[in-house]
């Protein structure tokens, strides 16, 4: 339980060190702001903007598979006048490349880590701002610069990058993908990667140094745990990715041969394309957890908050997430079984990969334990949190097929993989992001999002989403491989047309359902129900101050007396929640 330690004096000084004046001009208030809350909103709008572009791309991708050779409705004729509105195969290749890139690096990462990392960390640990506010601002603007470069790359001659989001050499070399598109792609992600490192350093330092007096690591909300572990992974592995991209950039622009194999039919003389895959996946597998860990943390908290019950096995959940963080660095080889890894590595990576299911199982069961014997309030954030649990269960269980080498070598590069990773890192992260948005929106803007629209949004999202990615796994098992413009070139895939059409319809439903969310945000920012300080009746620190929080959050740094999940304590009868700052006496031992 919370204990006040001698480091509280240092914390107080650290807090007081960087208090700035309240900015008054528009630019210093909203554009180059040092305020973590403003930066969080910047990341939110940035992420939502890109998420809609990425989602539109996915609609176009699915159109190709559901209606091959037919013009894309409404906007097709404007974008592709030379083909009468039909999406051509080279554009299709660009579409899925950019869909993956945008969704991972420009939508999910900015929203979950950039926005909610920035917004939640100082507020939930009782700090006045991030420890390095300038670095925080730089992190957003470098991301923004990366976004500008990526946006530009969509319109250069010979088109955007078209080598898949994994950017495997040698296809990614200029001989096979000429033009500026992929070079700009590398530059953009190099910038975004650097911004992520800045953010990660800031998050780690803030969480270690600026926790309010009395808040030990075991008194932090699990959201902060998730964001902390994500930041650790970001700081460790994005540099590896950046190195890989840098080498590939040198190969493309300056003619080096790090990843370029020598002349045809000669082996082992010069560069090695497999080296890139090692560099990429030693980042790429942790990236899955980078994206999903914040969502896990938030969901663990939200389940407790809305079930009005302490988080079941709090320490075990936090330790499981830590164990997964460590293991995530040791399993990347399962992305490379088909490159002819040695038998030893094949067996080792299979074993290590499957070990991940132990900690995953523990916190999954803890989630169920949290709602067990609770008193569950089904507000929109809770619905999205439960949706995250459901889809993550589906995604996690289908990961087993891909962890084992022999079934992996059957399913590798098929739609089974696509369905699986969308469930885990896309859908679960997305629904987690929605849960977080519905939950913290009142703290951000002072008004609640409309509940009814939120619930309609939830059901119109989750039902088709589950159908889409289950359908993709069925298609993958039937042998449909990834990244193909027209599956019906193959006789054995002819029968999949109706399935792909159903998926296409479901994608359209999900896409249009998101306008409800957008409309809800715009409507509720102006006309939503006024939230008050603590609309959800939750005890964590951000709900002890006004909504939206004042400049510098806490007029007085709070002193933490309780854990974050003290609900329905038998020792008190006035209400079922206890604020983290209430005096210890309110909970008589019951």
């Amino acid at each position: 339980m919370a204990s006040t330690t001698h480091h509280s004096d240092n914390v107080q000084t650290a807090h007081d060190d960087h208090i700035h004046e309240l900015p008054t001009s528009f630019i210093s208030k909203y554009i180059i702001s040092y305020d973590h809350k403003v930066i969080a909103k910047q990341f939110l709008w940035f992420g939502i903007f890109w998420a809609f572009i990425g989602a539109l791309m996915s609609v176009m991708i699915r159109w190709c598979l559901a209606a091959p050779g037919q013009p894309f409705p409404i906007i097709g004729h404007f974008i592709f006048p030379h083909t009468d509105g039909v999406i051509p195969p080279d554009v299709y290749t660009m579409l899925f490349t950019m869909h993956g890139t945008i969704m991972i690096f420009f939508a999910v990462t900015p929203i979950l880590i950039g926005c909610f990392g920035n917004f939640c960390i100082p507020l939930l640990i009782g700090a006045r701002d991030m420890i390095f506010p300038w670095l925080n601002m730089a992190s957003f603007w470098v991301t923004f610069a990366g976004g500008v470069v990526m946006f530009t790359s969509l319109f250069v001659p010979m088109g955007a990058s078209a080598v898949g989001w994994t950017s495997y050499p040698t296809l990614a070399h200029s001989q096979w993908s000429p033009g500026l598109g992929h070079t700009l792609w590398l530059v953009s992600l190099f910038l975004v990667g650097n911004a992520s490192i800045m953010g990660a350093i800031n998050y780690i330092a803030t969480i270690i140094r600026l926790r309010a007096p009395g808040m030990s690591f075991w008194d932090m909300p699990l959201t902060v745990w998730g964001l902390f572990l994500t930041a650790v992974l970001n700081a460790l592995f994005i540099p590896v990715l950046a190195a890989g991209f840098m080498l590939l950039f040198l190969d493309r622009v300056f003619g080096t041969q790090f990843f370029l194999a020598a002349a045809i039919s000669q082996t082992g003389t010069q560069g090695d394309p497999i080296l890139y895959q090692h560099l990429f996946w030693i980042f790429g597998h942790p990236e899955v957890y980078i994206v999903i860990l914040p969502a896990w943390g938030m969901v663990s908290d939200l389940l407790s908050f809305f079930a009005r019950k302490p988080a079941f096995g709090y320490k075990k959940t936090a330790l499981s997430m830590t164990a997964i963080t460590v293991l995530s660095a040791l399993v990347y080889g399962h992305h490379m079984f088909t490159t002819g890894l040695s038998p030893l590595l094949t067996s080792a990576f299979t074993t290590l990969t499957l070990l991940i299911s132990i900690p995953s199982g523990i916190f999954f069961l803890n989630w169920l334990g949290t709602i067990w014997r609770g008193s569950i309030r089904f507000h929109t954030p809770m619905l999205f949190a439960l949706g995250t649990v459901f889809t993550f269960g589906l995604g996690g269980l289908t990961g087993l097929h891909l962890g084992a080498a022999s079934t992996n070598m059957l399913l590798h590069n098929t739609y089974f993989v696509v369905g699986h990773f969308h469930f885990t890192m896309a859908v679960a992260a997305l629904l987690g992001g929605f849960a977080a948005t519905y939950y913290w929106f009142p703290k951000m803007f002072g008004r609640l999002l409309d509940e009814r629209m939120g619930k309609v949004h939830f059901w119109f999202s989750i039902v088709p989403i589950v159908f889409i990615f289950t359908g993709q796994m069925v298609a993958g098992y039937a042998g449909m491989h990834r990244r193909i413009y027209n599956p019906y070139e193959y006789n054995y895939l002819q029968d999949l047309l109706p399935l792909n059409q159903y998926i296409g319809i479901a994608v359209a439903i999900v896409f249009f359902a998101q306008f409800l969310f957008l409309g809800n945000i715009i409507y509720s920012m102006k006309k939503g129900k006024v939230a008050g300080d603590n609309p959800w009746e939750v005890g964590t620190l951000e709900w002890t101050i006004s909504s939206p929080p004042p400049h510098y959050n806490f007029a007085e740094i709070p002193v933490v007396k309780h854990g974050p999940h003290e609900f329905s304590h038998p020792g008190r009868s006035d209400r079922d929640w206890t604020s983290q700052i209430e005096p210890e006496g309110v909970l008589s031992k019951g």
């Binding site: 096995g313 299911s357 999954f364 169920l368 008193s375 087993l400 097929h401 084992a404 059409q501």
Partner: protein
């Protein structure tokens, strides 16, 4: 402050009506769209198949699934297994799927039931526990261990067995019954090379085929694969395993086919704009037919050999 409990019956009633209306709208809408689409879909399937039947090469290779009167499971079943190890891989896939599905039903069922059973309602209060009691810890841990034993241990064991018994059990290169083929994909063509009469690769009497891999039924086919340009993926869905083709790196892979016929070989790895069209055919012949095919093409090979055509002279040291 927002309302946490439904206090009056009026609100409850209107809520129920609204929910019912909304779900009816949802189900009706989805059903209507699917029904409409089904009609278009069946028309389109017939059209696509009609187009294929006009293409004579496609006709000979048609796999022969009947689109009419297919059950769901037939329609979305993977192509039939033709390799000796395909059934093992298939079995492991099905085991993982069914066991995973069973656990999913339990977990999703628990999620749904707990959500319903412990919903917030007047007079109901949450139970205060941090989940640290002995029996709570015990249940969590034992479920986790059960899961680990029934899924992970089985999967790891079978992966080890599969790795030992076929994935890494490459055929003996010196065995005359083993068919040795070099595979070299390039954008967007599959090149196959047989050693010819002299048993040496990259010589004048090699048999070189494009987009057609001819193998005898029931004999092991040992392929060494290297790409000419970008990474490709050598995948025969009927065989059930795949191997990448990488420039500068030779990967080794074997399979066998126990049923004559024509099967499709696909490029599984993104290799550029025409990736989706990069297909070849696997032609499985009876052993005698294969031998006569081999003889015939060996005699042609020397005649077709052009020392000037450097592009066709590829190959590497087979090694062991």
């Amino acid at each position: 402050m927002i309302q946490h409990r439904t206090n009056t019956n009026n609100i409850k009633k209107s809520k129920v009506v609204k929910t019912l209306l909304l779900s009816a709208l949802f189900i009706g809408g989805v059903g209507g769209v699917i029904g409409l689409r089904e009609q278009v879909a069946s028309a389109q399937t017939t059209e696509t198949l009609h187009q294929i039947s006009k293409d004579p090469s496609a006709q000979t290779h048609a796999v022969g699934k009947n689109p009419e009167n297919q059950s769901f499971f037939d329609r979305y079943a993977p192509p039939e297994v033709i390799s000796s190890y395909g059934d093992d891989v298939e079995w492991l896939f099905r085991y993982t799927s069914w066991a995973g599905f069973a656990y999913f039903l339990v977990l999703a069922g628990a999620l749904g039931w707990l959500s319903w059973r412990y919903r917030d309602r007047p007079g109901h209060k949450a139970h205060y526990t941090h989940g640290d009691a002995k029996n709570e810890k015990g249940v969590t841990l034992s479920l986790d261990i059960l899961f680990f034993l029934t899924l992970d241990i089985v999967l790891v064991t079978f992966t080890f067995i599969h790795a030992k018994s076929f994935i890494w059990k490459l055929p003996d290169s010196n065995d005359p019954k083993v068919v040795k083929v070099m595979v070299m994909p390039q954008q967007w063509v599959w090149n196959f090379r047989y050693a010819g009469e002299d048993g040496q690769f990259n010589t004048a009497d090699d048999i070189v085929t494009v987009n057609e891999l001819v193998v005898p039924k029931g004999r092991q086919v040992y392929t060494q694969i290297m790409s000419r340009d970008v990474i490709h993926g050598f995948f025969i869905p009927n065989v059930r395993l795949q191997m990448d083709a990488i420039p500068g790196v030779v990967t080794k892979f074997w399979f066998d086919a126990n049923k004559t016929g024509d099967y499709e070989i696909v490029c599984a790895h993104l290799c550029g704009t025409s990736h989706y069209k990069m297909k070849a055919f696997l032609k499985v012949l009876e052993n005698e037919d294969y031998e006569s095919w081999y003889q015939e093409h060996s005699t042609w090979a020397a005649a077709k050999y052009d020392p000037e055509d450097k592009l066709l002279q590829w190959g590497w040291n087979w090694g062991l």
